[in-house]
């Protein structure tokens, strides 16, 4: 129908299930993610959105279902059943993960430069000077003063730590970045700057994102498409503005009406 659009999704999640004992965290979840697309997953705490993100990232084993990823090599890999070696390799090359708390996503005891260079070194980059140049470029790209390259992340503000985490992930030019409440716990003004940066980088690098957030404002600004989760199920999914401006499901209407203005 539209010939210039990709014909195969980058990621297809098929009938994913995950329970903790008798508690169903993700029930029968299916969706596609297309190259360059930003998918927001919204819902309140306990809705299963973070579990879903962690399952997709391979941080949690799933009970059933497929996570089909079209790798850069163009082969389809089912991450739900891939070997540790293959999954971990993809996670630190073609995928990124931005944690809500920078301390979980950064090496706090190592300098900003080392944090940015880690993925490259893991890929066998062993030229100190080049690693350093790359780190400087990325610091500039995420609006951190280059002279902070040898400083420890703990001397950074919360917003800077998040930006460093983003640089650390994007340095290998991943095709998919997962973000778990990337602006959670930041001041509003800091949030705005971070959101703007994420928006710009995602566009520039044409990276597909799955962003988990409970903040509909963040979802509105970042996501092309939303999935609303409740009790481990997707209750409604669609184009971001459709979902927020014309919510159909009772729960989505409740979510939207609970926000002051989005």
């Amino acid at each position: 129908m539209t010939p210039d659009l990709d014909q195969t999704p980058l990621l297809s999640v098929e009938a994913l299930n995950k329970s903790f004992g008798r508690h169903v965290a993700c029930h029968d979840i299916s969706f596609d993610l297309w190259p360059g697309e930003v998918l927001g997953i919204v819902g309140e705490s306990g809705s299963g959105k973070s579990t879903l993100l962690n399952a997709i990232a391979g941080r949690l084993p799933v009970d059933s279902g497929k996570i089909l990823y079209r790798a850069a090599s163009n082969s389809i890999v089912d991450l739900a059943s891939a070997s540790d070696a293959q999954r971990r390799h993809l996670m630190r090359t073609e995928w990124g993960f931005v944690q809500q708390h920078a301390r979980d996503g950064l090496r706090m005891g190592f300098s900003a430069g080392a944090n940015i260079g880690e993925r490259l070194m893991a890929l066998g980059d062993k030229h100190y000077g080049k690693l350093r140049d790359t780190a400087l470029d990325w610091l500039r790209a995420v609006e951190i003063a280059p002279e902070r390259i040898d400083d420890l992340p703990r001397t950074f503000s919360g917003g800077m730590q998040q930006r460093l985490q983003i640089a650390r992930n994007l340095v290998t030019r991943p095709r998919i970045v997962l973000m778990d409440e990337p602006t959670g716990g930041l001041d509003v003004s800091v949030q705005a700057r971070l959101l703007d940066l994420i928006r710009r980088l995602v566009q520039e690098h044409h990276v597909a994102c799955i962003v988990v957030t409970h903040d509909l404002g963040v979802a509105r600004l970042l996501a092309h498409r939303l999935m609303v989760m409740r009790h481990g199920q997707v209750v409604e999914a669609g184009l971001t503005d459709q979902l927020l401006d014309d919510p159909q499901h009772a729960y989505t209407q409740l979510l939207v009406s609970s926000v002051l203005s989005v």
């Binding site: 539209t2 659009l5 297309w34 703007d196 092309h224 498409r225 184009l239 459709q242």
Partner: protein, 232 residues
Amino acid sequence: MTEMIKVENLDKTFTLHLRGGIALPVLRNTGFGVNAGECVTLHGPSGAGKSTLLRSIYGNYRPQAGRILIRHENTPVDIVAAEPRVVLEIRRRTLGYVTQFLRVIPRVPTLDIVAEPLLARGAGEQAGRAKAAELLARLQIAEKMWSLPPATFSGGEQQRINIARGFCADYPILLLDEPTASLDETNRKIVINLIDDARQRGTAIVAIVHDADTRAAITTRLLPLESQGVAA
């Protein structure tokens, strides 16, 4: 005549789950078409569904029944049934939407906000900026403001920036929701000229305009809407 928009048997009802599931029918069996070079103005009392219809055409509201065929890259595509990424692609290439309210993106300078739709269609940075500058100048936004984010600008300035943004990409179809509300006489005339220029170029336009003079100035065909339906 190229038919750019074809609305068929459109039903749209809002169900308010938070208010006991009350159903508000707004559009019933609505149908009409818009050709290239036409400016169709929706007309009717408040609550007749003018904005709902406009938003449905943009793919912002989801009707329960019916089709809205948008001529996108020479092929009619039903925006009601299209998957999200197709809707976004249609908006990127074919469909522009101008309201009186600018959705401000934090920290992005005015010039970039205006140029963005054109850049998204693949225009070069320079060409995009030049076109944006031309429109901002035409809409009498002082040059010193171009490099500032518009968050702190006045309502009228923000509205004109939003109009510039809407006209920047030369979309084949333009949806206008009160584009001249709260503009002064001079700027209102500038916007009317912009609309007229676009129509002369062959743009298909659907508009909602309350001000009778403006309506008279831009409209080629009036589409009366009544509460809960349409006489087509």
